[in-house]
Amino acid sequence: MAVKVLIPAPLRRYTSNQESLELEGGSVGEILDDLTGRYGELKKHLYGEDGKLRNFVNIYVNDEDIRHLQQQGTVVQPTDVISIVPSIAGGF
């Protein structure tokens, strides 16, 4: 099942400059696996060395942060739109 995924500007250099992709999967986790399977160079920016999604990477299903849903187990429908949304933190 293909679901639309919106790619933020900083990651488009890894997706041949495509702003959105149709990716296969029935859950957010499966969709992300399909994404990093197709575009392996993306992986280090989305996942830390511990294999977990980096804290500043936010995944939305439509307008809802998956932290408020079932995380990466969130089930998706073909009509859903998944967005990868940056949060930006820093300091010294």
Partner: protein
């Protein structure tokens, strides 16, 4: 890589850093990606530093806003909407280092996105000082980015 800015934009970023001193300021840089990979800044989009809410995102580490900033995904989305309304994109971010050099820290690096410009202004005793820009390479290391300053507004 290079970032083209104008004097008024840098002035706005410096003033923001002085206003929030001794706490960090932050914001988004709205502009355009040029075909050669360079970036041009068209609008400075200040964001309130909401670091105290960082725990929700697993980012809290006990430090305060004197040493940390956060732009939440909701604030980012608002900035992105503002950019699109002006025919622009988010091309980077800026923040201040109060009483600390304008160099990215390990914390900056650990949380950074590729491609974006990370503009840092040092604010010493309440006065904006050095301003530098950095961009993450494919090895997730920060590289210095040239800032071209133009006089046009």
């Amino acid at each position: 890589m290079a970032l083209t800015v104008n004097e008024a934009q840098l002035g706005a970023i410096r003033a923001h850093g002085e206003r929030t001193y001794p706490r960090e300021c932050c914001g988004l840089l709205l502009g355009r990606f040029e075909p050669d990979g360079a970036k041009t800044l068209h609008a400075v989009y200040p964001v309130e530093n909401t670091w105290e809410g960082a725990g929700e995102f697993g980012l809290g580490d006990g430090e305060g806003k004197e040493r940390r900033f956060l732009i939440t995904p909701e604030d980012y989305r608002a900035g992105e909407r503002s950019a699109r309304a002006q025919g622009l994109e988010v091309i980077g971010t800026y923040h201040s280092h109060p009483d600390h050099p304008a160099r990215p820290s390990e914390f900056d690096r650990g949380n950074a996105w590729p491609v974006y410009s990370y503009l840092i202004v040092s604010v010493q005793n309440g006065q904006a000082a050095d301003l530098t820009s950095w961009t993450l390479d494919d090895e997730r290391q920060f590289q210095f980015e040239t800032v071209h300053q133009t006089t046009e507004v």
